[in-house]
Point group: C2
Chain length 452, copies 2
């Protein structure tokens, strides 16, 4: 196809990474369809991002009513809003200086919301105590934690262990902070599980070139949709204790657990129950946000980190790092309060606070069962002809597959090469929407036939 | 007083900077008043921050109505909202994926809002063109620009010229990024003007110990309330051109100009009219935000930077730095749109969009005339007895003055030592609210009498 020549040129261009090409091409197709160009499909369907609202999921009414009333308190006089919405908005506005979401807050967040988050954590972990003093509400808290851990001036680079596959933005943040990336592979054949043996191997290799100080975990996983068992978490914590690694636990998908036999255990809960030599020493930062989970409020930028077992002097340094930045967006903070303390059965707004789940398994491609998270990361088994064809165009086969899938069906998914994968294996990542599956199936069947 | 012993102890404590002590003491007094303790005043009045809403100024109705409707689009059916509010909300929601402010946007902001900002800049500068491609909407854009300019790995530290006095958060950001701070003094006697001779002297000194690459300007000034003349800006630009310095122009107070004979000129406008050898070469980043100016929406975190004359490769690197961060908060982006394109005469909402100005001059302390910005930075002339008294307590005299002012009158202002001042000069910084002046006057008179 003629568009591919143009695209290959773009990919080769220094200024364009693969990420731009796919997204730009998707935007271009959308524009062409809007201008009346006819294709086999009526719209580009974006399966590429962890953005529920972009995917057409509606925001939760209770959340939006409370936030609208906080922004425009004249709505508190409006009879159409439920009583619990008004009460919550009034209670949140009392915590704002001047009663306005337009005022600065404490740089680590509004005290009452930190308190609310710590209560949520305690409930989640079945009573394990959480102190508001260890909660930092901040969009971008992962970057701040990296700043804390990474010594850019040391002659030996600071190393951080990260899973393969993983999502690109964390890797970019590591690179930007000057860290050495130490990859450890998740085991696809066993449902993308995290094997301590893999960690040990990776650490051993990493120690030859840098100074590994931290272990980054994404549980439930992105892009793999796996979830760690309690036993697996215990093993990882024991490993971190032995090797004196700081655990960065990205737990933003903690409320997205689908499989019947599966339960989310937080690193903090498991750690707290491991005996005092470990439970009081292993340092942990756990991240959560309103972007993922049932709310899907990515645009509001509300997130927090909870710090566990930090040396008081280090915690004080962390506090300073967090406080050199301005306060987090107040509307996002309030969304966090609503996530941590949603309406309960009996409250007027309880019925509007329903959860979201639009996932299924994809036939025709080998795919580990989806247990948690937003995404699937199925493996594509390309025939040699397809590999050759991609090589000729100087592109990754899965990237080329994604470009064709987009062109032919309007489905925008991401190639596995962006997340990391074992040599000679190929994947795609997408969030599953029911009406996308048929398009993908038809394309995939045709594609495999063409290159067989 | 007994509280002072305790406070002195706190200030000496490593873990507490002066900033915390004043704020904590203010919070403590507020709490005591709420619990019924009687003082000479009924409340602590916070004059310490550039936060209009905290100071009791009401948010602009049009702004809040549009944002509430964007968050909760059911309000678009509400008859109580004006037509232009609904139209604006609908038009903004059309730019959001899935029609939701909960979706991610482009990492440098929504394209249409960048376009709106560039039109605003063109109008402001009397027709000087501005391209959306040079606009990056981001909360924290100053830090990202510092990342771009500062080479942490060079053996010679990167230097940035900054004014004295200046506000602490920019200095903290510089320190955090590992830059060398090169202070240049503003000339208080001449209304806090910026003298190129001072810049030259500072640069000369700086070159002995670091590699100066950028010049940071705050115009209109914080904390000084000065504003640069067109001629002064030309001189500074010529200096930057000669010395090959990147200009970081913090122009967030551009809409706060009070004096009759005074007009705001942007660095970009003046630069564009200086002849092509200068106008096409001097690199400039200009910052603006919804936090300051007439909106005072600090909590929404909406700001932008416009880049001028950057080398294409450097601009591409900047684009990458901006894109490694998530998108800016969407509600803040929308507020930026409303700032850049407010209701016009004839629109239903025009009357609700009124400006704010609650400033006056303070008698009894020597103070340069306030021309622009939020703050005054009057000079306190302490008698030797007061200096001695402070020295004995190992505190800066202006810090001690602030603590006493807070304790006795409930006025929370900041000491000049936090912003930088010439040796043996002392200042306080505050935003002037009418009802604060009498309290300050009474305290100041008593204080000076006691130490004379």
């Amino acid at each position: 196809m003629s568009f591919l020549k143009e695209i290959s040129q773009l990919v080769k261009n220094n200024f364009l990474s693969g990420i731009d090409v796919l997204s730009r091409h998707a935007a271009q197709i959308s524009a062409e369809i809007q201008q009346g160009e006819r294709r086999n499909y009526n719209e580009v369907l974006d399966l590429s991002s962890g953005d529920l609202h972009r995917g057409g999921i509606k925001p939760i009414t209770f959340v939006r009513q409370v936030l609208a009333a906080c922004l425009y308190p004249a709505l508190l006089e409006d009879d159409s809003l439920p009583l619990d919405v008004k009460q919550r908005a009034e209670s949140l506005l009392r915590e704002c200086d001047g009663g306005s979401v337009g005022s600065y807050t404490d740089s680590s967040g509004i005290a009452k919301i930190k308190h609310c988050v710590s209560q949520y954590i305690t409930r989640r972990d079945g009573g394990v105590p959480s102190s508001p003093d260890n909660i930092f509400i901040k969009s971008g808290s992962q970057t701040i934690m990296l700043k804390l851990l990474i010594r850019s001036k040391d002659s030996c680079q600071t190393g951080v262990l990260i899973p393969v596959p993983t999502y690109a933005s964390f890797t970019l943040a590591l690179e930007e902070q000057g860290a050495a990336i130490i990859p450890y592979h998740l085991c696809e054949e066993q449902g993308w599980t995290l094997q301590v043996e893999e960690l040990r191997k990776a650490l051993h290799t990493g120690r030859k070139t840098c100074n590994p100080v931290a272990l980054y975990i994404c549980n439930p996983g992105n892009p793999t949709g796996h979830i760690q068992s309690r036993k697996s978490i215990e093993e990882v914590i024991r490993f971190a204790a032995e090797e004196r690694l700081f655990i960065l636990a990205d737990e933003v998908y903690q409320s997205c657990v689908y499989a019947d036999d599966t339960e989310f255990y937080s690193y903090k809960k498991v750690l707290s129950e491991m005996g005092s030599t470990i439970s009081s020493t292993v340092e942990l930062a756990s991240f959560n946000s309103v972007s993922k989970g049932f709310m899907g409020e990515c645009g509001l930028r509300g997130g927090y980190v909870e710090l566990v077992n930090l040396d008081p002097a280090v915690k004080e340094y962390a506090r300073r790092l967090f406080s050199t930045r301005s306060c987090p967006p107040v509307v996002g903070q309030m969304a966090l309060d609503l996530m941590a303390n949603p309406p309960r059965p009996g409250d007027p707004s309880f019925p509007t606070f329903s959860e979201v789940s639009v996932f299924a398994e994809l036939p025709g491609i080998s795919c580990q069962p989806l247990k948690a998270g937003f995404f699937v990361f199925p493996c594509l088994h390309f025939p040699p002809k397809a590999i050759k064809w991609a090589k000729k165009r100087q592109m990754e086969p899965d990237m080329l597959y994604c470009l064709h899938l987009l062109e032919e069906t309007g489905l925008h998914v991401r190639p596995g090469c962006e997340y990391g994968q074992r040599k000679d294996s190929h994947h795609i990542r997408f969030n599953i929407m029911e009406d996308a599956l048929q398009r993908l199936k038809t394309f995939h069947t045709r594609f495999m036939k063409e290159f067989s």
